[in-house]
Symmetry: C2
Subunit: 656 residues, 2 copies
């Protein structure tokens, strides 16, 4: 019996902690021991993750060299240490992220998966053996044919970024499987980092933030405050130009302005959001009011000027950067899948720090749109960047480029996103509910069982397609928590009944607080009306003026050419027709086992303009309207686009 299977049997289910486990403050997320996804979209995603994305990712990690890199360091007798595959110094993290996800999947039990356990054990063993005596671990820098010495290129070396993902995998393995092998490795590496970069160490930071939130979690898991101190040093040191960039500006690394003084999220999107998540962890643990205000300002500013309708972050392909305020072009939206995960991590911590539901609204927006779009319907192909538009013209681009931009790919040379999806989907249940004092807060809605403090709830819903969420109280003991249910920001007129009786509750700041003690057998029915909504953008977003986008519940919709005979670039939508939009059952992918909702809405199809690219004003602009033909357009959930072959797509449509 392998170590891991022993570990699984030894794991004390009730002791499992979630991915984020604050020591301070009043809020505690529920863990995988307390929340199980049992139905609906999130459960389907988790199943697909286990059955498709995990095996695919393991196969790719084996085939493309990530595991081989570690093996060659671990087993120099095999002639290793002399060869290195791949050109990036962060390829170990793809193994780490996968292990983080595997810890959850192995703990979840279910049908045994030999390969999943075998990969886990093999990788853990290689990691243990690849670590240097002094605790250092990075197969790129340790390779004998890599010229650079460790710690000589903090801007691009990603060594502390690697440490961060190692820690997160180790904490997950410890919490989910009671397997401390990786934790031993991670602590040795973290101790080395404390020695080198701690209070008495070098005044430096890593070019890629990530380790900050990991160090906070390591402190939470081990009780060792040195890791918390190091995280704070990394947050406070950044912004003084100590990262010596080669070709990227200091802004790319968030090293141009101290985080507390930063006016707006900036630079490389993933770096920015990981950094903000780590800083917010410090707010949770240390209650620093100035840092809390800085984080709230950055968040609010991002929501007001820099986040895509889909929750995507990053407007530029160049430098994978966030861009200026109101610079939100649909076709060049970068919105990296990793940035979506980082934004959710930041949102979750902002909620834990404040208790405010609005952060969960954004979490939900990202989850069902910018994040979900990153994975194909079959779970085996990925978008790295997530545009909100692909023009018909794009189909004529040449092979390789078009394939990557119009269709998801099986893997990437820089494969950061796929294993990030693996871990994030595996730990979704850790982000569904949180206890705050004596009140259990339901943060996201899904078919689920929730057990904690003598309370057992059964959530039944077809959310986000259906507006009804049923909460059956299977068990309630004296002293069981009270309940607060989130009413999403997009919802008007959310209401609740208990045992069929309308309940007048205090709905404040996005929470419906059930002001009574729950009893076994109670049935709560939450109704979140989901009419089709139409949105416009602030006029300062040049790219979206005179545009309209449709959404229903948390799901943003798009027009795909596959569903429409008329060129989707030649459709005009009238605000007056919005009330005629209807949501109907539909399966807009070949593989979907479950029905989603598609939207049908009236529009006019107009002929392309023929008066040139820049006509002089006064020419008959409205001629096209006269020549229009009434039609009905079908819109599908944005996150499902690109699953039916290469085709044009747009979220934002022309507004009449």
């Amino acid at each position: 019996m392998s170590h891991i299977l022993v570990a699984r049997t030894e794991a004390v289910t009730g002791a499992r902690r979630p991915a984020v486990w604050p020591l301070s403050g009043s809020r505690r997320p529920l863990s995988s021991a307390e929340v199980e996804l049992t139905g609906g979209v999130l459960r389907d995603w988790q199943r697909r993750n286990r059955s498709e994305t995990v095996p695919h990712t393991i196969a790719q990690l084996r085939a493309t060299g990530n595991l081989e890199n570690l093996r060659r360091i671990a087993d120099p007798a095999l002639g290793a240490g002399t060869l290195f595959r791949g050109r990036y110094p962060f390829l170990d993290t793809d193994v780490f992220k996968t292990l983080e996800g595997l810890a959850y999947e192995l703990a979840r039990g279910g049908e045994p998966d030999g390969e999943m356990a075998a990969f886990y054990d093999e990788a853990v063993s290689l990691i243990e053996r690849a670590q240097r005596d002094d605790g250092y671990l990075n197969s790129y820098f340790q390779a004998s044919d890599v010229v650079k010495e460790p710690w000589t290129d903090l801007a691009w070396g990603h060594e502390l970024y690697n440490l961060g993902h190692l820690i997160q995998a180790a904490v997950a393995a410890s919490r989910q499987l009671a397997d401390d092998r990786l934790l031993v490795v991670a602590r040795r590496f973290a101790d080395l980092a404390v020695d080198r970069f701690g209070l008495d160490g070098k005044d430096a930071v890593c070019g890629h933030p990530e380790v900050e939130m990991a160090l906070v979690e390591l402190a939470r898991e081990t009780g060792d405050e040195r890791y918390l101190t190091l995280a704070r040093l990394f947050v406070d040191r950044r912004g003084r130009g100590t990262v010596q960039p080669s070709i990227f500006p200091a802004e790319y690394f968030q090293d141009n302005v101290p985080l507390r003084e930063l006016d707006s999220v900036t630079g490389h999107a993933v770096r920015m959001a990981y950094l903000a998540a780590g800083a917010t962890d410090l707010v949770i643990e240390q209650g620093d009011p100035a840092l809390a205000r800085a984080m709230e300002h950055l968040w609010d500013d991002m929501l007001a000027s820099k986040l895509y309708l889909t929750g995507g972050l990053g407007s530029r392909h160049s430098d994978e950067a966030i861009g200026d305020r109101f610079e939100l072009p649909s076709e060049r939206s970068y919105s990296e899948t990793c940035a979506a995960i980082a934004t959710m991590q930041w949102a979750w911590r902002m909620f834990l720090a404040s208790g405010e539901a609005r952060y969960l609204d954004t979490f939900e927006t990202v989850l069902y749109n910018g994040y979900a779009a990153g994975l194909s319907d079959d779970g085996r192909a990925f978008f790295y960047d997530n545009p909100l538009q692909r023009r018909p013209d794009h189909l004529q681009r040449s092979g390789a480029e078009a394939a990557g931009e119009l269709l998801r790919r099986a893997w990437f040379v820089c494969p950061c996103c796929p294993p990030n999806i693996v871990r994030w989907t595996a730990e979704l249940q850790d982000h569904v509910a949180a206890l705050d004092g004596d009140t259990l807060h339901l943060a996201q809605y899904a078919g689920a069982t929730v057990r904690m403090g003598g309370l057992e709830l059964e959530l039944t819903t077809d959310y986000p397609w259906d507006q009804r969420v049923t909460v059956d109280v299977r068990t309630a003991a004296p002293g069981s928590p009270r309940l607060a249910l989130r009413v999403p920001g997009w919802c008007r007129g959310g209401s609740l009944t208990v045992n069929g009786e309308p309940v007048v509750t205090e709905a404040s700041s996005g929470w419906l607080r059930v002001d009574r003690v729950l009893a076994t057998g109670d049935r709560l029915e939450l109704d979140l009306p989901m009419p089709v909504r139409a949105h416009r953008a602030d006029a300062r977003v040049d790219a979206l003026r005179a545009s309209i986008a449709f959404a229903r519940g948390p799901v943003v919709y798009c027009a795909e050419q596959a569903d429409n005979d008329t060129d989707i670039d030649q459709l005009l939508f009238s605000p007056a027709d919005v009330p005629l939009a209807t949501a109907v059952a539909g399966r807009p992918t070949p593989n979907s086992s479950a029905e989603t909702r598609v939207i049908t809405v009236p529009a006019r199809a107009v002929a392309p303009a023929t008066d040139g690219l820049y006509p002089e004003l006064g020419a008959d602009e409205e001629a096209d309207a006269a020549a229009s033909v009434d039609t009905t357009v079908t819109l599908v959930p944005y996150y499902l686009w690109g699953n039916r072959g290469a085709a044009a797509m747009r979220v934002w449509l022309r507004r009449a």
Copy 2:
């Protein structure tokens, strides 16, 4: 007396040929021996080029290593050949482009400039001595510390691109100065290229097109058809994936689709336009109807869907690429200065191939906008890329990045643009007029003297600020050419008088053809009404919907924050107010010696929206209009933006 000064005295003025000198077809551009710019903007630009940009560029080429690279190859005894400055294999071309411009400036005479002549002689001598015995010349590949062998990296090596610029410098030196030293070097290198890549050579092309038009010109200058054949091979071979890219897709190199089958200009913008210019040279010389149709299709498609209002080409920073049809974001417009020059080179050749004035309209648009913006008012700083918008937010970006994006820089690590400006400004007079059969066509308007075929004309105008162009016939001999004057596409109601008498002329396809024999003393007065125009964009350009831009004559205008108290992002312009726009004299730069015209136009200033980034439709969108304040906005010529410190700018403004 230096060789060059001897050469200058020996140069036969009348024999000077222009930059493009077709052997076939009916059109012959006039040369610097026939056209002299004597007044107005183009003359000012040429003077500034000589007095500021040329000395600045020479100093930079000396300081940053371009010349030093050649010296270390030429004089290995100095320990050279062992060191190489700069990381690009195309840095010799910056010397070549500067020499091309110097050939014109030295030939132009005027106040002697010792440094100009000294640099010319020194560089020519180094180039002569750096050339290998077999004709090869590239200081990067010849350096002993560069590992790559010549011709082993055609995708990125730029060796034939280097040859192209060497040829163009050599042809200019030969034509302007009767100095054949560079021509000897260029022919030896070109002969090597014929051997390696000619009919019996390797089936390959350079990753960066440029050599095609240079080889055609070399064939014109030398009468050697082998160079024409090689140019044709390079055009016809491209598009079959023979360029093996490292990180760029084949499309970047225009190597994905054969040029004759290409549906739309694509890939790297400068590469595309240089390639198209070279192919059009082949059309001129060989009259290939299929290739001519392909070039016309690509041109028309570009004008209809891919060229910025300013004549800029290239919508993406990533890969410096052209982008999809209708993908024309203002803030991320790349519109490289070199692409502007390449587009003008292509336009000039399309005119020479067809005689059609519309190509000259685009030439003019690029000249006064996308091209001119690349240089600072003081002639010593440059934009590499030329956006049509800088948001107020952009001012908060960090030092180095903001400096490069908001203000022109003295030089670049990749300094292709500055010396390209040097040569192009120096040879502007070669693109002012052309003889077609017995008719002299005036292509661009400027204060100028034009002498040819017994005809001497004096053009007096304050174009593009003033609508009047006066043409005095100083001398006309029997058999002197007739005259055709271009009526720009933006002009409605252009009219002509001869000696005060209205002349009924045939205005067809953009030409006013004077249907009479000119006599000494005749005065022609061309009137090109220049009301302020307002333009909108095709609704398929998402980035420009509900936007308005102002222009007058060939000059596109922009709002700069420096001229306006109100946030320029919060201004609303009504089409109804366009007739109230007026052009008044103004000097919107600190250094300008000459007055330009600025535009004043009524607008409303509105408060920023406060209902979020993506309000649900139905919210009171027009509230801001109610809260508006009437104001008057000042607009300045786009090409002069960014000369008064870092500030927000926009060409396209919000339309009420």
